[in-house]
């Protein structure tokens, strides 16, 4: 029998209520994640990219079982965290940890670094004796390049880059198989960002960690992930090897995202403003089962896009895209 995949997500849906326009209006919902599937093997890395509001952060909360899906399934090493009894869920949680965007906000300002990093041990690993915790914490801090002198500091006493290292140390302390990182470097300065990205690369190489890396920065995703999944309005519209997808997009939205990245070369080549995608429509205007979700602002849209919903179809080795004109997009 083969070992089950580390992470298998099948058609997950997560909807949130929309604010009512008036007290008697019917309660509408918006599907932040509208049927996304993905697989991640041990030691693999997957980037999730998209605009703000595309559902990528919601997806990361579903994967870490911070929220249950309304439909569909999340399986971590063959278990559904949302149906597990409490003790078994704790054991499973040791294998999946998370790093958040805002390094200050993700650390309790009134706790010391030692206590912050030890929290997952205290909550998830009752078998680790209290006396050993400090040693395990120091080990985790060492893994992210921080010395034992950080143990008794408070978050406000260290720099932003160090805070993010502390958050990563907390995610590593239970020795997880998968780390979900939600925009972990977008609040950091360029030089510090490079230090933290190097740390992720290093941890992957040394610990065989699987990484789910959520970001809107295509250059960063290209640098740290092997595969990528592009989202629009809660739908996965393209997936495949990162390098291939980002260098030759098959979905117009991927192409638009790529064109939007500011380039240093613009200083002498001039700014390329060919195909900036239009602004996303408000969430209540995006209705399911109503043609392609992207067609309203798609430069490639044709009549057919309004009549049928494109599904993810293979477009190359290990690649698929949800676009009727994927081959043309790749060619052009």
């Amino acid at each position: 029998m083969t070992e089950p995949a580390l992470l298998a997500v099948r058609d997950v849906v997560r909807a949130y209520p929309l604010p009512r326009r008036h007290p008697l209006a019917p309660a509408g919902t918006v599907r932040a994640v509208a049927g996304v599937s993905l697989d991640l093997a041990r030691g693999e890395s997957l980037g999730i990219v998209g605009e703000s509001g595309c559902g990528k952060s919601t997806l990361s909360r579903l994967v870490t079982a911070l929220e249950p899906p309304d439909a569909g399934r999340v399986h971590i090493a063959g278990h559904d965290p949302n149906t597990l009894p409490r003790m078994a869920l704790r054991r499973l949680r040791r294998r999946v940890q998370m790093v958040f965007q805002d390094p200050m906000g993700s650390l309790d300002p009134r706790w010391t670094v030692a206590r912050i990093v030890a929290e997952p041990l205290a909550g998830l690993a009752p078998d680790v004796p209290r006396a050993d915790r400090r040693a395990r914490v120091a080990e985790a801090l060492a893994a992210v390049g921080l010395g034992a002198e950080a143990l008794d500091l408070y978050p406000h006493q260290v720099s932003g880059g160090q805070r993010q290292r502390i958050a990563i140390a907390r995610a590593l302390v239970t020795d997880p198989d998968l780390v979900v990182a939600d925009e972990p470097v977008s609040a950091l300065d360029v030089s510090v960002q490079a230090q933290v990205l190097n740390l992720f690369l290093d941890l992957r190489a040394r610990r065989g960690l699987a990484l789910l890396f959520v970001s809107h920065d295509l250059d960063v995703v290209r640098h740290v992930t092997e595969r990528v999944l592009v989202m629009v309005h809660g739908h996965a519209v393209e997936t495949g090897p990162t390098e291939a997808v980002l260098s030759r997009p098959a979905h117009p939205h991927t192409a638009a995202l790529r064109a939007a990245v500011p380039r240093i070369e613009a200083a002498w080549e001039g700014r390329a403003r060919a195909r900036h995608a239009g602004a996303p429509p408000p969430p209540e205007d995006v209705r399911p089962g109503d043609g392609c979700v992207y067609r309203a602002r798609c430069p490639w849209a044709v009549d057919h896009c309004a009549r049928a919903v494109p599904t993810l179809e293979p477009v190359g080795p290990g690649r698929s895209a949800a676009c009727f004109r994927a081959r043309e997009v790749m060619g052009g």
Binding site: L66, G105, D108, P120, G161
Partner: protein, 282 residues
């Protein structure tokens, strides 16, 4: 990073007044110039002098000693009443914020109900029903502190629940109760302390009010409110007897309010000013 800000001048004055009142109450436990309950009819209504620094009342009891013991009663009643409010209100507020849903609704509607009654009048009603006395005064005042602290605790806790460090704690396998105690409570402590000083001042006023109406502490117990009550007969003959306890109440309440404002400026992060930058350096 923000350096620890100091207490403002007004805050220090408030702290000093509160300290003097507390110290006086403590001293009265072991020493007063005279026994405040012993009558000395020969020296009744005597003005300030060597034997009685602040004079005597209509039974010849020493006014200074009465004020000192009165501080003790005022503080004891207020501490227990506010303690009742904190002890029951804060857990209720934390529970409402942690659970949301129908528990939250129930707690908040109970609060609305409690706020719909004028606090002091209901306290009068309660003591009138249960009978006058310091213990019932404590119950009556404490009851109205519960919704105040429940609301403040819930209001301060709700935004915290959306913060990433709470999500991190949930990923670390912590339950809602543990998170409320370990993460939420320390982070809302500042707000609660500020509220407590304000409620403390209100409780002192309420106790004085009830005692003045004859519903609080009963003779021969001494309290500032009772002193006011007894002084009203002699208001024009000997205004000193009303002015002194009145002054003690006003000063104490003023001091506590100053201290509360000072602590609010010092502890409340929402009032933090200065340059905020979203990006963070290495």
């Amino acid at each position: 990073m923000a350096s620890p800000r100091r207490l403002s001048a007004a805050g220090w004055i408030g702290a000093a007044i509160a300290a003097v009142v507390i110290l006086t109450a403590l001293v009265s436990l072991v020493w007063t110039p005279h026994d405040p309950t012993v009558m000395d009819v020969a020296n009744k209504l005597s003005g300030p002098g060597a034997a009685h620094p602040l004079g005597t009342d209509h039974f010849g009891r020493d006014t200074l000693s009465q004020l000192m013991v009165g501080a003790r009663v005022s503080i004891a009643v207020s501490v227990v009443a506010v303690g009742l409010g904190v002890g029951l209100g804060v857990p209720l507020g934390l529970l409402a914020a942690a659970r949301r849903g129908w528990i939250d609704e129930a707690v908040m509607r109970f609060n609305d109900l409690a706020f719909a009654f004028p606090a002091l009048l209901t306290a009068v009603l309660i003591t009138a029903l249960l009978g006058p006395g310091a213990i019932n005064a404590i119950l009556a005042i404490g009851l109205f502190n519960i919704p105040v602290f429940a609301r403040v605790a819930r209001g301060a806790a709700l935004p915290l629940w959306k913060r990433p460090f709470i999500q991190a704690a949930r990923l670390a396998g912590r339950g809602r109760t543990r998170i409320s105690l370990d993460h939420i409570l320390p982070n809302i402590a500042g707000t609660l302390i500020v509220q407590a000083t304000i409620q403390f001042a209100l409780a002192i006023l309420a106790e004085a009010g009830l005692s003045y109406l004859g519903l609080g502490s009963q003779p021969p117990e001494v309290s500032w409110g009772r002193m006011l009550n007894e002084a009203q007969t002699f208001l024009f003959l000997e205004p000193r007897l009303a002015v002194l306890p009145g002054l003690a109440i006003v000063l104490t309440v003023l001091g506590l309010n100053l201290l509360g404002d000072g602590l609010r400026d010092r502890l409340d992060p929402r009032l933090e000013t200065g340059l905020e930058t979203r990006r963070e350096g290495g």
